[in-house]
């Protein structure tokens, strides 16, 4: 018996075991399936490690530790064939109960994908659907920003991350990470201090898929990380929906492929509610009441530019060629469109903006 360990909960041993080098999710589950955490620690643990000291990190960090099957462990995960033996959480793990939709997609998304993810996140949260996502750059972050923007009474966000809960990755999402933990819960199967190693992300994606009732892929390139989540969802019989994108947009290549192979399309929150069997709970509004129905601007130059832009990012050069305007004329019209909130310019590219209309 390790000295000074009396009175420690079994989770302390399990957490210490998870932090051992060479103990991954599969090995941990094998050990904890055979033995109780204390026995497992005595069998495979390193006697030089002070379990109590390790445990104090979790207590001080406000990180809850859940053994599979214990009270705090999400019930949906318990029976999964690849369920993590141990789950760490920051925030209220109880919020996981309820209908859940995973919104996933490319880290490098277009404004279109970002807007759709944001809208889906916001609208689903308002109806009481938990949005599960990975806190990654791009689509993941946009979906959770949407949830946070949904206002009071909205369903809390649920995040599943790949690194340890004290290792914020990506660092650009530090603020979002804290906000999600405050409003909802951040889950991970990685012990404190675990680096965001590449192998952890496909492993994280299986938890995302196992937690979700429906997986919505917003934008993904052919070889994106969404592929793993979709595979894991298919294995578990979870519905995978895809947001249709422009056929020429590389960022939508994989989602369009999913649609071809039979995934139901997710055009907006209503489509997702149908898949969740929550039809009728959506906001009362006509489909397509957003930017597409907005009256076009009066100025002929501005209208021509919007027409030429479509929903693809375009450079001044391309717009000049497509519209036949001079660079000066096009610039004036673009500036007015930007003031009017029709378009957003960044790094020399202009894109139509749907979020403000």
């Amino acid at each position: 018996m390790v000295s000074g360990s009396a009175g420690l909960p079994p989770e302390a041993y399990a957490a210490a075991l998870a932090g051992m080098p060479g103990v991954g999710p599969a090995r941990l589950r094998e050990l904890l399936d055979r033995w109780s955490p204390v026995e497992a620690w005595e069998a495979a643990g390193d006697p030089r490690v002070d379990v109590a000291e390790r445990w104090s990190l979790y207590v001080e960090g406000g990180v809850a530790v859940h053994l599979r099957g214990s009270a705090g462990y999400p019930p949906t995960l318990v029976d999964d064939h690849e369920a993590p033996a141990l789950l760490f959480s920051v925030g209220d793990v109880g919020v996981v109960d309820g209908p859940r939709v995973a919104i996933i997609g490319s880290r490098r998304c277009t404004r279109y994908g970002r807007d759709v993810a944001f809208d889906l996140g916001r609208d689903l949260a308002r109806i009481g659907v938990r949005v599960v996502s990975g806190l990654a750059l791009g689509i993941d972050g946009a979906a959770h920003l949407g949830v946070l923007a949904a206002g009071d009474g909205a369903a809390p966000p649920v995040a599943v991350v790949g690194s340890g809960l004290d290792v914020v990755y990506p660092r650009a999402h530090r603020r979002l990470w804290t906000q999600v933990a405050e409003a909802g819960v951040v889950l991970s199967e990685a012990p404190l201090g675990a680096r965001p190693e590449p192998w952890r992300f496909p492993a994280r994606n299986r938890i995302l898929a196992a937690l979700a009732d429906v997986v919505v892929v917003v934008e993904s390139r052919t070889k994106g990380g969404s592929f793993h989540t979709v595979q894991a969802a298919d294995q578990r019989g979870v519905t995978v929906m895809a947001v249709p994108g422009p056929v020429r947009s590389p960022a939508s290549a994989y989602t369009n492929e999913l649609l071809v192979s039979g995934s139901p399309p997710a055009r907006d929150v209503d489509d997702v509610l149908v898949a969740l069997d929550l039809r009728g709970r959506g906001p009362k509004r006509k489909r397509g009441s957003s930017a597409t129905a907005q009256p076009p601007p009066d100025d002929p130059h501005q209208a021509a530019l919007l027409e030429a832009m479509g929903w693809q990012p375009s450079s001044l050069d391309q717009l000049v060629v497509r519209t036949g305007l001079s660079p000066g004329q096009a610039s004036v019209a673009l500036a007015h469109l930007e003031v009017g909130g029709w378009i957003v310019g960044q790094a020399g590219w202009w894109e139509r903006d749907s979020s403000t209309h």
Binding site: D317, V321, G348
Partner: protein, 500 residues
Amino acid sequence: MLAIVPSATLLGVEGRPVAVECQVSNGLPGFTVVGLPDTACREARDRVRAALLSSGLTWPMRRITVNLAPSGIRKTGAGLDLPIAIALLVANEELDAESVAGMAFIGELGLDGSVRRVPGTVPLVEAISTRTVVVPLECGAEAGLVGGPEVRGAATLKSLLECLKGEASWPDVPPFKAPASPPAPDLADVRGQEVGRAAVEVAAAGGHHLLLSGPPGAGKTMLARRLPGLLPPLDRDDSLVATRIYSAAGLPLPQGLVKCAPFRAPHHGASLVALIGGGTGWIRPGEISLSHAGVLFLDEMGEFPVSVLDALRQPLEDGVVRVCRARASVSFPARFLLVGATNPCPCGRGDEAGCRCTVHARARYARRFSGPLLDRFDLRVVVGKPDVDELLRGGRGESSATVAARVAEARRRARERGVRCNAELPARLLDYSVPVTPSAQSLLEHKLRTNGLSARGLHRVRRVARTLADLAGDGDVVGDEHVCLALSLRAEPRLGDEPW
């Protein structure tokens, strides 16, 4: 006996007068050179001895001491060979002191007695205060550019001695052999690229630094190479400075004075010293000085080391670069128009054309361009691959000559404001020189309020708008079109760590 012969040595791009003193005295035979010579200069001993012997002269078996005064400054290069030889001959009484009175000498000696060219003839001759200067025959025309002392050329030591003794007449200095230079690339060759062409024109007219970003094959290099053809010929002052720099760097001056705006395009493997200037011993001007009053083009700018790029910031601001070394510190003029070309990301495709780079590779690439450096580009333009239709069927655009005429007119207007070009308009004069229409003002305010523009960015946009109005031949008030185009031509950079 003692002999003193005037000459000069090079420090940076300036010549410093040097007096070569030689004493031949009784004592143990030997030859020493004192007065802080560098290695090339110290080796003069062996070259002078061999040159004298090959010219049919005898080597005095006496004690020879050469001093290069003032002994405090470092003497570089082999240009002091000839004055050392002459001083030795006078001190050894083989040459009459009267025959070299009022004469300075510059030149390197070959072992066969030939007189070879030296770098920096122009600044060296400028430092000479005597009536006559003798230079290597092939440098004669270059030396004549200075318009100071009378220039005499010497092909070999032997023929020089004959001329000095009055046994032969001085050879004629050959004029510049101006080789038929290939015609400068014409802007009319660029198909399509209306925005890129406009950007190059604005850069030439206003002296605005230009960053072109686009996929490979978009024509970034093609556009940049047409920029010098749009710039007006150098004025007399710039021409002299540029000539001095070229001469000091040892570059050939086939046309005499540098009259056209220089265009330098160093490869991205260039070291800091190659770009900024420096080197051990002889401090050479770098690429930024060689492009003084012209264009410095950095192709594949993202591939340059970060340290090299950041070193450009101070010269960009000051127009001079001060190179400090343990032994000397030198100021080089470096007022150049910076044109950068970069791919949007390491794979070159860019977001919009199916980029395959990882998020991190892109962030790393973006970090190469530090904020302060990017900020110095008034024009940041995205160029795309031209349309197939435009490439094959589009008519030729305006020729360089047409655009150059507009550029010259815009530059003339800038001079009326008391600056060389609009990029140099001081911030305090902007309200006076660049009045904008109320509607343009409100667009600018919107940009400022939505963080689309920084305070410094606002100044730069106004300068570019001024240039656009000048090019269009509009009046004093700058209209919406110019302000908006100036905004469009200054694409805010994509941040590497934005949360999206």
